[in-house]
């Protein structure tokens, strides 16, 4: 009995793995349940261990090759550096979380936190000072070292320059003499021309030699010892932490919400007493106004929320929401239109030119068009009911629904609509003739025919189309956000590119993985959906 339960669980698990498209883990589960260990182990080795080893090999190759490829923006980051950059991005997110909590803290909790942060701050400050001193020491040493390394080259360079200069003067003198000789008729013009040519050649050579030395010096200068960068980074990290802690303290004390509220309340009280003691009508009026103003201020402050800085995870959430909105828009357009196209050849003929022309248009063009068009429909975005509504929703409200989101979503929809539309049309038009015969024999009306036969039978293809659409939409969105600086992962990447800091390159690669992994999971979700509606149990293409 127990065993059959276990079996049931096993097959349930296997089915789950199969449906979610992670069939590679099938042998692992079987192995765990002790089914044909030898065979399953072989499978695991072949299809799980080998790929993992391969990926590790790639990472290793990356680690080895990256530092060898020097760009003007620095070395290509290694996997470790990319990981560190990701961790820094995550730290920034955590810092925002901390500040957000601090902002909202009140009462004894706040007091406790203040003591804690003050303590931390003192520690960190000390550490930061130490690190700074060390970094300066190392930097000074490095400067000396560099100077020492350069000095002989510089000397060589100066000597060479002086020698070249001397040679040049000599040559010029000779040429001058030769010219005089030509004038006197004791030498041929040929000889003079040759001398000038030789002189130019010699000058060029001399310059090249000088340049080589100069480049060498530049190279020494631009390659300070690794220790400098390391200590500098350590100091930077500590100094950033100090900065963060002092900002936290600020949010716990002066910038704290409860503090601000009580401040406003005190002001109101003061104004109240002023009102009571006032005698002239103008003073009464002014005091009364202050009271009301104070009250309103207190009420508004109490509702204030911490103005978060967009961190990577926020951008991920916003991108996901945007792509979802765009995808839904695409589906809402593509499915009915696709069905009409599939059902009616005339409709198909009408739409074909439109589809053919617009399908290959670059998302960038759509973005610009929507940016212009959408902007015009929301003259006052902040008080537009649509945005006010979205702003008031939990979760979504935080994401900042604004016209930028709308046009990004429109761009996504515009590019994602085509695969879904074409696939839906195909699914509807390629419906099995037998199924249609059944409908005819049963004399199904238009709607029952649509909902009982046509749509169910084309669903697998529709979902296949939607899956492509979502993939396209996700790619398009990142580009659109980067171009329009509308919040989202694309903007994150673009901002990093623009920052041009030493972490930027690694951060961009980190974001590249984040985009890829999210895209992968979106695709998996669509596969699961697609398989849940497909009736032929056809394996979805991975």
């Amino acid at each position: 009995m127990a065993e059959s339960k276990l079996e049931k669980f096993k097959y349930g698990l296997l089915k789950l793995i199969d449906v979610s498209g992670f069939k590679v883990f099938d042998p692992v589960v079987r192995l765990v349940f002790g089914e044909e260990p030898r065979k399953q182990a072989g499978e695991v080795l072949k299809f799980l261990v080998t790929p993992v080893v391969f990926v590790l090999l790639c990472l290793g190759l990356w680690t080895v090759i990256a530092p060898r490829h020097k760009t003007k923006s620095g070395e290509v980051p290694t996997p470790v550096e990319v990981w560190d950059a990701g961790m820094i991005a995550n730290t920034l997110n955590e810092r925002e979380n901390e500040k957000e909590t601090d902002f909202a803290l009140s009462g004894s909790q706040r007091e406790a936190e203040i003591t804690l942060v003050q303590q931390l701050l003192a520690e960190k400050k000390k550490q930061s000072e130490q690190l700074k001193a060390e970094a300066e020491k190392v930097a000074a040493a490095a400067t000396e070292e560099t100077a020492a390394a350069i000095a002989p080259v510089q000397k060589q360079y100066d000597e060479l320059k002086a020698a070249n200069k001397g040679a040049k003067t000599t040559r010029s003198g000779e040429i001058k003499k030769l010219a005089e000789a030509v004038a006197a008729g004791s030498a041929t013009a040929e000889k003079l021309l040759q001398a000038i040519r030789d002189d130019n050649l010699a000058s060029d050579e001399a310059r090249d030699a000088e340049k080589e030395l100069k480049d060498h010096m530049d190279e020494i200068r631009s390659n300070p010892p690794k220790a400098v960068k390391k200590t500098q980074l350590a100091y930077d990290a500590a100094a950033n932490e100090v900065q963060h802690l002092s900002k936290r303290l600020d949010y716990l004390q002066k910038g704290n919400r409860s503090q601000k509220v009580s401040q406003a309340e005190q002001k109101t009280l003061a104004a109240m007493s002023k009102l009571e003691s006032a005698t002239t009508s103008s003073a009464i009026l002014s005091a009364a106004k202050s009271v009301v103003q104070g009250e309103e201020k207190a009420a508004r402050t109490a509702e204030q929320s911490y103005p978060r800085t967009a961190t990577i995870w926020f951008q991920v959430r916003r991108s996901l929401f945007t792509v979802f909105v765009g995808f839904v828009m695409a589906a809402v357009i593509a499915i009915p239109v696709g069905i009409m196209c599939g059902l009616n050849k005339v409709v198909m003929a009408c739409l074909t030119p439109i589809i053919s022309i617009f399908k290959p248009v670059s998302p960038v063009v759509w973005l610009l068009i929507f940016q212009i068009v959408v902007g015009a429909f929301f003259p006052d975005p902040e008080s537009h009911p649509l945005f006010v509504f979205f702003g008031s929703l939990p979760w979504i409200g935080e994401l900042g629904v604004n016209p930028a989101l709308v046009f990004s979503a429109c761009t996504v929809a515009m590019c994602a609509v085509w695969p879904a539309l074409v696939n839906t049309a195909l699914g509807v038009s390629s419906i099995d003739k037998d199924h249609m015969n059944v409908a005819r024999v049963l004399k199904l009306g238009l709607w029952s025919r649509l909902f009982k036969i046509i749509i169910p039978s084309s669903l697998p293809l529709v979902f296949a189309g939607l899956r492509i659409s979502l993939g396209v939409g996700w790619m398009v969105l990142i580009a659109a956000e980067a171009l329009s600086s509308s919040d989202g992962l694309g903007k994150y990447v673009w901002d990093e590119y623009q920052n041009g800091s030493s972490h930027s390159f690694a951060n961009i690669i980190f974001a590249c993985f984040v985009v890829g992994i999210i895209g992968f999971f979106l695709d998996r979700i669509m596969i699961v959906l697609q398989r849940s509606v497909s009736f032929d149990d056809g394996a979805a293409v991975v």
Partner: protein, 283 residues
Amino acid sequence: MALPALEIDKVDVGFGPEGSRTEVLKDVRLKVEANEFVAIIGFSGSGKSTLMNLLAGLQPADCGEVRMNGQVVTEPGPERGILFQNYSLLPWLSVFGNVELAVRQVFPEMTKADRRAHVQRYIDMVSLSGSEWKRPGELSGGMRQRLSLARTLSMRPEVLLLDEPLSALDALTRANLQDEIIRIWEEDKRTVVMITNDVDEAVLMADRIVALTPGPEATLGESFPVTLDRPRDRTTLNFNPQFKELRNKVTRYMVDINQEAKMLRKAVDVSLPELTPYDFTAV
């Protein structure tokens, strides 16, 4: 004389534009009496399915008429239940759902409880009880055809059209299903037209066998009444001289018309170039 339940009257069916037209069926005439079981037997490619589509109303006749109880057939309908060769089940619906879809459409006034009972009855009738919630994809070929049969029967058609219903099945399943169809038909008599390419099957099941001559321009040939007593037992039938004689007669007829057709075809054949095989051994 009562009107024939089903009548094909001088029907031609063809395709292609005028001038280079290919006639699939030419001058087809058939009368089927009420509650008669007629088997139409023919070679593959002779237009059997076209004939069936014609009867079902899925395909119009180019000239001539198909009548049911004197009414001209112009479109398909549930009163002429058709059992397709490839089952035509809706794969996204369960066994129950497939039958229910038909029942709901044909008897819209039925209450929910009645409908359930009705559906269940037909599922039970074809011995699919217990598989109500399976999808067609999970059923074997025989079970699928049974389901198809249940769906068709659940519409309570006046005429049952069987389009080579068993040809895709293996011999054992086939025999099984033949018996089942006959049992159901005997329980609840109605007009049946069955198309088949199996003489034994035709003799076993039908009241009358009509031959379809090979296409193109196929038409109905001789008709052989089957006077064997019912119920017919397939185990003893093989030793029945009447059965054997009829079977041989039909088979011989079919072979003959086929040869005739081949000869006819040969007459219009293009003459082939004369080639003599080169004898390499002579070298």
